[in-house]
Assembly symmetry: C2
Homo-oligomer: 361 residues x 2
């Protein structure tokens, strides 16, 4: 069974397919390749499991493959150059297609390579982690990290399609599954209270990879994301709410060294910090903060900031963030579970208090 959603962006609209065994569905991937030259880019973890199966679906095309190292610490311009080198070596032209087979790191690297190579070629997202399926593969945010800040170099560039084969989640490490659930919870927090309630009741099913529960959650997240992106592709408004917890989270990822915390883990902590600050600034009830922390804990996610990072270190990194204006930190906060604010300036002493107090006992 296959569900289809659409990201509506005029002549750049594209489908998201969600379902079991989509890799093996004859013609599905190939029907979205408009060129003779194709390169499938994956990593050393995903490649041995699924690369051959994807390549088999591309019979008749000139297919090349590239296997990159695995991990957030490789999401940088140096790895990007390896993709460009391979494209040049195999003489790829403007009329060619990249396929990103992997998690969020592969998707971001490959999408940005597609955006830049010959000023833009086609690409397809085949996300293989829960996090990538529910969040990063949809919406066209691509790019790499700078040592000083996450996702600082990139482009908005939409794929031809997104193919989320939920069977691959069976081979996902438990830690990666939990990291994906962090972004799942995010959708409940920012715009879907009913879904948050559902998550409270069904977390155990997600953690044990119940196919129906996973399919429901992935579809629900993609539906939310597709609507937000269709409404505000370039993040001039509502799309920014998708960054709940991310300014804190990015600081943890950069501050601790990329790869130490998974993105979803850092975001889980960041959402707790954002919830605490929302309470401290009179927006959110204490009881709702507790519900948020409890739900993330039940997903086996960390909820406390790393002891190694004090408030100063957080602030140092948080002053470089894409939502800031002229260096003033702006954050997404919560009015209640299911309702997020747009980026708003925060009182520095209150922010410092949250950084010093929350999760430090």
């Amino acid at each position: 069974m296959k569900q289809t959603l659409t990201v509506n962006l005029g002549d750049r609209s594209y489908p998201i397919y969600i379902g079991l065994d989509l890799f093996s569905q004859p013609g599905l991937i190939k029907s979205h390749v408009k060129s003779a030259q194709v390169m499938v880019v994956t990593n050393v973890t995903v490649g041995p499991l699924y690369l051959e199966r994807v390549v088999q679906q591309l019979g008749g095309l000139k297919v090349r493959t590239l296997v990159l190292p695995d991990g957030e610490q490789f999401k940088n311009l140096a790895t990007e150059e390896r993709i460009f080198d391979a494209l040049m070596e195999y003489r790829f032209g403007r009329n060619s297609t990249l396929i990103a087979l992997g998690g969020g790191v592969i998707g971001d690297l490959v999408g940005f390579a597609a955006a830049c190579f010959q000023r833009g070629i086609d690409y397809i997202q085949i996300p293989t982690t829960l996090l990538a399926q529910v969040d990063s593969s949809v919406g066209g945010k691509t790019g790499v990290n700078h040592p000083g800040g996450k996702n600082m170099i990139g482009a908005f560039y939409q794929p031809n399609c997104v193919i989320a084969d939920t069977s691959v989640l069976n081979t996902l490490e438990q830690r990666e599954l939990s990291a994906g659930i962090a972004e799942v919870v995010k959708y409940g927090l920012i715009r879907d209270r009913e879904f948050f309630d559902w998550l409270e009741k069904n977390m155990e099913l997600l953690l044990t990879r119940d196919p129906q529960a996973l399919a429901f959650a992935i579809h629900r997240c993609c539906l939310n994301k597709a609507r937000v992106v269709s409404e505000d592709e370039l993040e001039s408004g509502v799309r920014a709410t998708l960054n709940l917890g991310h300014t804190f989270g990015h600081a943890i990822e950069a501050g601790m060294g990329y790869g130490r915390y998974l993105h979803g883990e850092a975001v889980a902590i960041g959402m707790c910090q954002a919830a605490h600050l929302s309470y401290a600034t009179g927006r959110l009830e204490q009881a709702e903060v507790d519900r948020i922390i409890r739900l993330l804990q039940s997903a086996k996610l960390p909820v406390k900031p790393p002891a190694e990072m004090d408030a100063d270190r957080f602030l140092e990194i948080m002053t470089v963030d894409k939502k800031n204006i002229d260096g003033a930190i702006r954050l997404i906060l919560l009015d209640e579970i299911g309702t997020a604010t747009l980026p708003c300036g925060v009182d520095q002493p209150q922010l410092e208090a949250t950084l010093n107090d929350y999760g430090r006992s």
Copy 2:
């Protein structure tokens, strides 16, 4: 006196200003800066001459400067990273502006940095070479070279405005002036026969930097370029004609090592090769080929391919070009002076014959 043209691209439209002493015109640059943070990026040749004057015009803003090495051999991702590093070091946010003060290399590097930093910030083009004033600063083509091919990594990304101060051409080296004239001649060849006739009569005035002749030529080129870009921003059609001679020329630049031939010099040779091939394929009269070669020679430009590069070397590099489809070489040719073809497939033996025969005696 200041002339103003407009590149019409809906809500991304922008003005091109052409005239004497525009750097000193109070408020002109600053009126196009919409942010508090500004970084002026230039190179070691242009910086000592004009950086201070530009910075003076930005009083009241938070201004940073970055001085890069000079030359096509530095138009790569490594230099791009130096711009990103500086932006991060000075904590530039999404709400900031880059100013490109220099020739085509600086403009392409800075434009691409603006396209990618935080997924897109503002930038302004202040071209200081004839080539950049008549061609590369207008139209939003940005990017860097790959060792295997010119401009292989980049983006279409439009500036806030282009400020072409013609007084700066007085400090331009003669070789750079001639290189710029190659692109000037190109506009005559592809779409402005009347201008080509004018150039035949007035080349001496351009070479001696007669202000009126230069102003006329720059305005005429920008007018042509603005019209082409307004019609076809992403090069799906007529914009490709601006690449006359460039596939040959890029092969010379990459094949001889970036920086050895100036871009305009390589394009001059390439346009002669394209003219020869246009004649060989029954498009262009021999007499018109001769006029083209004579005009470029009168501009002190090289017109023969480097002896070091044989036909095989040309073909090896030319098979990687943005106009190609599935590896088949496509070129812009001339039907007559003033009329160019769209990219068209060429008969391989005829192309080889031109590469072997033209300019080899």
